[in-house]
C-alpha cells in the first residue's frame, strides 16, 4: 500500500509541485495501478535465465554543422538568456 508521504517524496524527486489534495487522490490511483501491474510477479518461465537484450549503440561524434549555425534559433527558445548563455537563478548563496 503506497502512502501519501511516499507520493509527496516521489513528487519531490521528480521535481513536480503537487498540492496536498492531489497527493491524496494520486495515492489511491497509483495504489490501484500498482495493484494491477503487481501481477508481474505471476510471470512463469525461466525468469532467472532471461537477461534483457537492451544495449547501447554508439557512433562517432562527427561535427555536421558550422560553428554557431544553430545558436540563435536554439537560444531563441530559452525562457531567459544572457548573450549566448541560458539564464538561471543562482544556486550558491
Amino acid at each position: 500500500m503506497i502512502t501519501k508521504e511516499e507520493i509527496l517524496k516521489l513528487a519531490l524527486l521528480s521535481r513536480i509541485d503537487i498540492s496536498e489534495n492531489e497527493a491524496e487522490s494520486l495515492t489511491s490511483q497509483i495504489d490501484s495501478i500498482l495493484g494491477y501491474v503487481g501481477h508481474i510477479k505471476e510471470l512463469t518461465g525461466n525468469v532467472n535465465d532471461e537477461i534483457p537484450t537492451l544495449r547501447n549503440v554508439m557512433r562517432e561524434d562527427v561535427v555536421t554543422n558550422s560553428p554557431s549555425e544553430f545558436t540563435e534559433i536554439i537560444l531563441n527558445e530559452a525562457p531567459a538568456r544572457e548573450g549566448n548563455y541560458l539564464k538561471v537563478k543562482k544556486i550558491l548563496e
Binding site: L10, L13, S14, Y36, I40, V47, E50
Partner: protein, 470 residues
C-alpha cells in the same frame, strides 16, 4: 468540386498526374472542409498558414513532369513530430510557444516526396492516453458521434482522416496510439516493426516502444506512406532496413483465445470479431488457437516499462532550455512550479509512477521483472510465429466511449489490452475497420488487429488488402 469522401491517396495521385485537379485546388478543398468541421471536432490544433504555398510548390514539380507517390498529397501531422519553423506542443502547456528548430526525419522524407502539410493534429498530452481527453487543448470528438472520444493518443490524426480533413496522417504508437483511434474512427492504422521508421524528431514517450506510422482510409494508402518514411537513419541507432515486397507465407492465422475471451471485452465487439473470423475463413485462411502463457501480463509489463521510460524522457522539460517557465523563489522551485503547472494530470501521474518503479527499493520487483517478462514474451511470440503467419485480435475491447465517461485511469489503460503487446515485442501490427456495432442507436466503428513477425510488415498489407476488399 472534388469529392473528398471517395478520394484516396492512390486515386488522388492519378488525378493530380492527369491534371484533373491541381495540388492547390486539392489543398483548398481540404482547407474549406476543415473550416466547416474542425470547430466541432477539435481535430486540428493548428492549420498552417503556408498550405497553398506548399501546394503551389507541388504543382510546379508536377508541371515539370515529376511524380512522387505523395507529391501534392495533403497530410496532417501529429503534434509531437517536429517540422522546422513550426509550432509544436505535444498538446502540452509545458512547451509554451515552442518552435521546432529542425525537421524530424519523417518530415524530411515527406518533404522530399512533395507532400503538403495541412496542420498539426490533436493528441493526448505527450501521447499519454487513449482518448485525447488528456490534451491540454480539449478532446477531439469522434466524427461518427461527437459525444464520444476519437480514441488516442493519435485521436486528432484518426478523426481528421475519418472526417475527410486530410488524405492521410502521421501518428505515433507507443502502446496502441495509432491503432486504437483508427479502430474508434473507422480508418486504417499501421504500427511498423520497431525501428523501421526513424524516431528522430519525434518527442519521446517510451523510447523502446515508440513507433511513427500512418493513419489512412485504405491499406494501400498506409503502405504508400510507410514506403516514403521508412529507412535507416544515422540519427536513430535503432533503425533497421526492411523490404515491403510481399513474401510467400502460409495462410494461417493464430488467435489467442484465452485473451480474447477475457472479461471486459464488449460482447458486441466479440460478435464482430467472430464474424471477421468467418470472413477470413471464406477468404481461404486457416484459423488456429494459439496459447502464449504470459500474454495476459502484457498490460502489466507495459504500464511498468512505459512510465519508467517516460519519467526519464520527460526530465528534459525543466523550464530552462525551452518552453514554459514558471518562476519560484529559487532554481529548485522554478523546476517544481514549471513542471507542476506545465504538465497535465495524467503526465504527472505517469512520471510519479515511473519514478516509483525505478526507485532503488522497487526496481527489482517492478522494472527489472518487467524487462525479464518482456524477454520471455518475445520468445513466446517467436515460437507462436513458427506455427502461424499472423496473429489476430480485436483492436480494442470496446468501441469509443462517451467523453468524460471514464474517470478512473486504470479503466482507460484497459483499452490498450490488445495493442500493447506489439510494442513490447517490437512486431508490426495493423488495425483494419471490421464494421460497426450499435450502441444507443448509433453505429460505432470497430476494428480488428493483425500482428506479424518482426520485419514482415508486408504480410499485414497483404492480408489487409484482401480483408478490406471483401
Amino acid at each position: 468540386m472534388i469529392d473528398l469522401q471517395s478520394l484516396t491517396i492512390t486515386s488522388a495521385r492519378k488525378k493530380l498526374d492527369a491534371k484533373e485537379f491541381s495540388a492547390v485546388s486539392l489543398a483548398q478543398a481540404y482547407l474549406d472542409e476543415i473550416e466547416k468541421k474542425n470547430e466541432s471536432l477539435n481535430a486540428y490544433l493548428e492549420v498552417y498558414g503556408d498550405v497553398i504555398e506548399q501546394a503551389t510548390y507541388a504543382d510546379n514539380l508536377i508541371a515539370e513532369g515529376k511524380s512522387f507517390p505523395l507529391l501534392g498529397i495533403p497530410l496532417a501531422i501529429k503534434d509531437n513530430i517536429l517540422i522546422k519553423g513550426k509550432k509544436v506542443t505535444a498538446a502540452s502547456k509545458i512547451l509554451g510557444n515552442y518552435i521546432a528548430t529542425y525537421d524530424a526525419t519523417v518530415i524530411k522524407k515527406l518533404k522530399e516526396n512533395g507532400a503538403v502539410f495541412l496542420g498539426r493534429a490533436n493528441m493526448d498530452e505527450f501521447a499519454m492516453g487513449g482518448s485525447t481527453e488528456n490534451s491540454a487543448f480539449g478532446p477531439t470528438k469522434n466524427p461518427h458521434d461527437i459525444s464520444r472520444v476519437a480514441g488516442g493518443s493519435s485521436g486528432g490524426s484518426a478523426a481528421i482522416v475519418a472526417a475527410d480533413l486530410a488524405l492521410g496522417a502521421l501518428g505515433s504508437d507507443t502502446g496502441g496510439s495509432i491503432r486504437e483511434p483508427a479502430s474508434f474512427c473507422g480508418v486504417v492504422g499501421f504500427k511498423p516493426t520497431y525501428g523501421v521508421v526513424s524516431r528522430y524528431g519525434l518527442m519521446a514517450l517510451g523510447s523502446s516502444l515508440d513507433c511513427i506510422g500512418p493513419i489512412t482510409k485504405t491499406v494501400e494508402d498506409s503502405q504508400i506512406i510507410l514506403e516514403a518514411i521508412k529507412g535507416l537513419d544515422i540519427l536513430d541507432s535503432t533503425t533497421i532496413a526492411i523490404s515491403l515486397t510481399p513474401s510467400e507465407k502460409a495462410k494461417v492465422i493464430g488467435v489467442p483465445w484465452s485473451v480474447v475471451n477475457m472479461e471486459g471485452v464488449d460482447p458486441k465487439v466479440k460478435e464482430n470479431f467472430l464474424s471477421s473470423i468467418e470472413k477470413l475463413k471464406v477468404l481461404g485462411y486457416e484459423i488456429k488457437d494459439i496459447s502464449l502463457p504470459n500474454l495476459g501480463l502484457a498490460l502489466a509489463i507495459y504500464y511498468i516499462i512505459m512510465p519508467a521510460e517516460a519519467s526519464s524522457n520527460l526530465s528534459r522539460f525543466d523550464g530552462i532550455k525551452f518552453g514554459l517557465h514558471v518562476p519560484g523563489k529559487d532554481l529548485i522551485q522554478d523546476y517544481n512550479f514549471t513542471r507542476g503547472q506545465g504538465f497535465g494530470l495524467e503526465v504527472r501521474r505517469r512520471i510519479l509512477l515511473g519514478t516509483y518503479v525505478l526507485s532503488s527499493g522497487y526496481y527489482d520487483a517492478y522494472y527489472s521483472k518487467a524487462e525479464k517478462a518482456r524477454a520471455i514474451l518475445k520468445k513466446e511470440f517467436e515460437n507462436a510465429f513458427k506455427e502461424v503467419s499472423l496473429i489476430l485480435t480485436p483492436t480494442a475491447p470496446f468501441p469509443a466511449w462517451k467523453i468524460g465517461e471514464k474517470n478512473d485511469p486504470l479503466s482507460v489503460y484497459l483499452a490498450d489490452i490488445f495493442t500493447v503487446t506489439a510494442n513490447i515485442v517490437g512486431v508490426p501490427a495493423i488495425s483494419i475497420p471490421s464494421g460497426v456495432v450499435e450502441v444507443l442507436g448509433k453505429n460505432l466503428p470497430v476494428g480488428i488487429q493483425f500482428m506479424a513477425p518482426q520485419g514482415e510488415d508486408s504480410l499485414l498489407f497483404e492480408v489487409g488488402k484482401i480483408f478490406e476488399s471483401k
